[in-house]
């Protein structure tokens, strides 16, 4: 089933066009990887999906992005609601400089998801468990989240993102600041999370895309060159550019 449908999306930073005519379908409960060289627009596209580009004054987005058949670029779309449904994990772990508990409970608090302290405790516990962090931190929930290691911080950010039970999780190079062991943990986690969430992951590492994703889109110079199942993109791409990139001839 198709969860997100992008149609003719153009993005401009001031006068400079960053994305050209992107049309891409994203399957529900699967992992879609966006790959491509630096500056190709894959992160920009990801940020269109939860309208994080709104934050940038000079950025304007044209075209339709349908999530559950609802155009999120429509004026009637409420970004607060949208971002409740679409979580995001950033390139650099960015926990709030607060306690672990506060980090995870922040989303449910502002969206009024827990009626009691007990319910909140449960949300925090399940989120941390899903993020495979519970065992490591259950004794120090009230210590600052910034005191964790990089990999733990990133899993904390994932726990924070899933605490509001989003339908989609956007991951913007979530492992680029992590060591290989922490990366492996996150990848395992992504595999687990796709059972309940639709995941879109931007990555620099083609190996990672091959390991975690079912679908892959290849971006180059602001254009979506090719997309399809990961198997096909990696083994038998249609486009010469894709082939060159995959085989490491440029990028």
């Amino acid at each position: 089933m198709i969860k997100i449908k992008a149609k003719d999306v153009d993005v401009f930073y001031g006068k400079k066009q960053a994305l050209f005519n992107i049309s891409l379908d994203i399957e529900e409960n699967q992992v879609t990887a966006l790959i491509g060289p630096s500056g190709c627009g894959k992160s920009t596209f990801l940020r269109c999906l939860n309208r994080m580009n709104d934050v940038i004054d000079i950025c304007s987005v044209k075209g339709e992005i349908l999530i559950n058949d609802f155009n999120i670029n429509d004026k009637s779309c409420d970004v607060v609601r949208l971002r409740e449904k679409i979580g995001m994990v950033f390139q650099k772990p960015n926990p709030f400089p607060k306690t672990l508990y506060e980090n995870v409970s922040y989303g449910p608090t502002i969206h009024g998801m827990a009626q009691s302290k007990q319910e909140m405790d449960e949300i925090v516990e399940t989120s941390l468990k899903k993020a495979a962090l519970w065992e490591e931190v259950k004794d120090r929930l009230h210590e600052p989240g910034t005191g964790l290691s990089g990999g733990q911080q990133q899993r904390l950010c994932i726990a924070r993102a899933i605490s509001v039970r989003p339908e989609v999780i956007l991951m913007d190079e979530p492992c680029s600041a992590l060591d290989p062991i922490a990366t492996a943990q996150i990848e395992e986690l992504v595999d687990e999370l796709k059972k309940e969430h639709t995941i879109i992951i931007v990555t620099h590492s083609m190996a990672q895309a091959a390991r975690v994703s079912q679908n892959t889109g290849f971006f180059h110079l602001g254009q979506l060159i090719e997309h399809g199942s990961t198997d096909k993109i990696f083994k038998n791409p249609d486009n010469k550019k894709t082939q060159d990139y995959i085989t490491g001839r440029f990028g």
Binding site: M52, R81, M88, F90, N94, P97, I110, R160, A161
Partner: protein, 422 residues
């Protein structure tokens, strides 16, 4: 080729050594100036914290005080102390003629009558008895005792006569002159008499001014900074505002004084010489300082925190209030304290709005006339009496102490509450 390289390397090391030397000598110079400055102030000022007392036997003669038998408290309050006070001083030299008696009287402060009265009010049983009472020495004798008085000047150029010096020396020889910690310097308001003048009025004036300034400048500045930094669109108009805030920070303080005079006093008719007007004027001055500090510390909050909050579905307001503002508070607060410390040391605008007036009462609220510490320094520095010289330095010491404490506080806030970013 190799030799050339060697030479070049040596040259580079030499240049660095020279540069270090310049830096060290610059720091040395700065420290030297600071030491001279502090030494000068302390060496002139420390004696102001001591006060000289004459110990004079006073006979509480009921007849001279016009008291009946068994006087009540009120009677004691209303009694006439001037005669016994005069007599006690005159008795210091039994052979004194009338002129000399007058000189004897001037050896103590004009307050001596009150001091004798207080003695009796504390212990009514003293009537008819003689007791040695501590009387505040006149400012000139105070200086004589502290060794600051040029005794070798010819008599007609001195305010202390040879006769007074003779009696004073006798008293010193008999151990009847004592130096004690000068409490009245902290509890008295200003006075024309140096021996009685204190900083209570100006200290309270400064505190009230600073409080008024804080209460106006802080909320306005923080709201302005938050709006400009977090909500305002970046366009020509906001650029224009930003430039003008920076300009405002560079406006000489006396201009704000003129504004206070022209607007607050002339148009709004607020009470002249009060900490209220002073505080409002100072807040105009402090406003840009706080805005700039608050904006800088808002800017220093990493954008990733804002993104994290926004991506969680927090509204812009929630992002700002839950995350950005709390994180920027240490910087904002220490900027505020530094702004207030500047305001505390400001003299020019306060002179224009009339806080330079002679105020001999201690203000109880920001609506009462008051001086402020820097203005007090200015007033005393203008006074001719020798006794005020040490007071100026002592007042500077109090002001500096106040400033150091505030800056220390700013440092502590910054270090203690600043979050470390991993």
């Amino acid at each position: 080729m190799n030799k050339n390289k060697e030479q070049l390397l040596n040259k580079r090391y030499k240049a660095e050594q020279r540069f270090r030397l310049y830096g060290l000598s610059a720091i040395f110079m700065a420290l030297l100036f600071l030491t001279i400055f502090i030494f000068k102030i302390f060496s002139t000022g420390y004696s102001a914290f001591q006060k000289t007392w004459l110990i004079v036997p006073v006979t509480f003669d009921a007849e001279l005080m016009m008291l009946d038998q068994n006087p009540s408290k009120e009677d004691l309050q209303d009694a006439d102390y001037y005669d016994i006070a005069l007599k006690s001083m005159a008795d210091l030299d039994p052979n004194a003629n009338e002129d000399q008696e007058n000189e004897l009287k001037r050896m103590v402060s004009y307050f001596f009558e009150k001091e004798i009265k207080n003695e009796l009010l504390n212990d009514p049983n003293l009537i008819g008895k003689t007791k040695e009472v501590y009387l505040t020495a006149s400012d000139d004798l105070d200086q004589v005792f502290k060794g600051n008085y040029p005794r070798d000047l010819p008599e007609d150029q001195r305010r202390v006569s040879d006769y007074q010096l003779k009696i004073f020396d006798q008293l010193v020889a008999n151990g009847k002159v004592e130096s004690k910690f000068n409490i009245s310097f902290f509890t008295n308001a200003d006075s024309r008499e140096a021996e009685l003048a204190g900083i209570a009025s100006s200290f309270m004036g400064s505190i009230f001014s600073i409080l008024v300034c804080l209460m106006i400048a802080f909320p306005v500045a923080v709201l302005a900074a938050i709006y400009l930094e977090e909500f305002a669109p970046k366009n020509r108009f906001t650029d224009f505002i930003e430039v003008n805030i920076n300009n405002l920070a560079a406006v000489p303080s006396i201009v704000f004084g003129l504004l206070g005079l022209g607007v607050l006093l002339a148009i709004f008719h607020l009470p002249r010489s009060t900490p209220l007007v002073g505080g409002i004027t100072l807040s105009l001055m402090t406003l840009p300082t706080i805005i700039i500090a608050a904006r800088a510390s808002l800017k220093a909050v990493p954008p990733s925190i804002r993104e994290a909050a926004l991506a969680m579905g927090a509204s812009r307001m929630q992002t700002t209030m839950h995350h950005t503002v709390p994180l920027s508070m240490p910087g904002t607060l220490s900027g505020t304290i530094i702004g207030l410390a500047q305001a505390l040391g400001e003299t020019a605008p306060l002179i224009l709005i009339g806080m330079v007036a002679f105020v001999n009462t201690i203000p109880g609220s920001p609506m009462d006339p008051a001086a402020s510490l820097p203005v007090q320094i200015y007033i005393w520095a203008e006074s001719a009496e020798r006794g005020f010289v040490e007071k100026v330095s002592a007042c500077i010491m109090v002001l500096l102490g106040f400033l150091i404490i505030m800056n220390l506080f700013a440092q502590i806030i910054r270090h203690k509450f600043e979050k470390k970013w991993s």
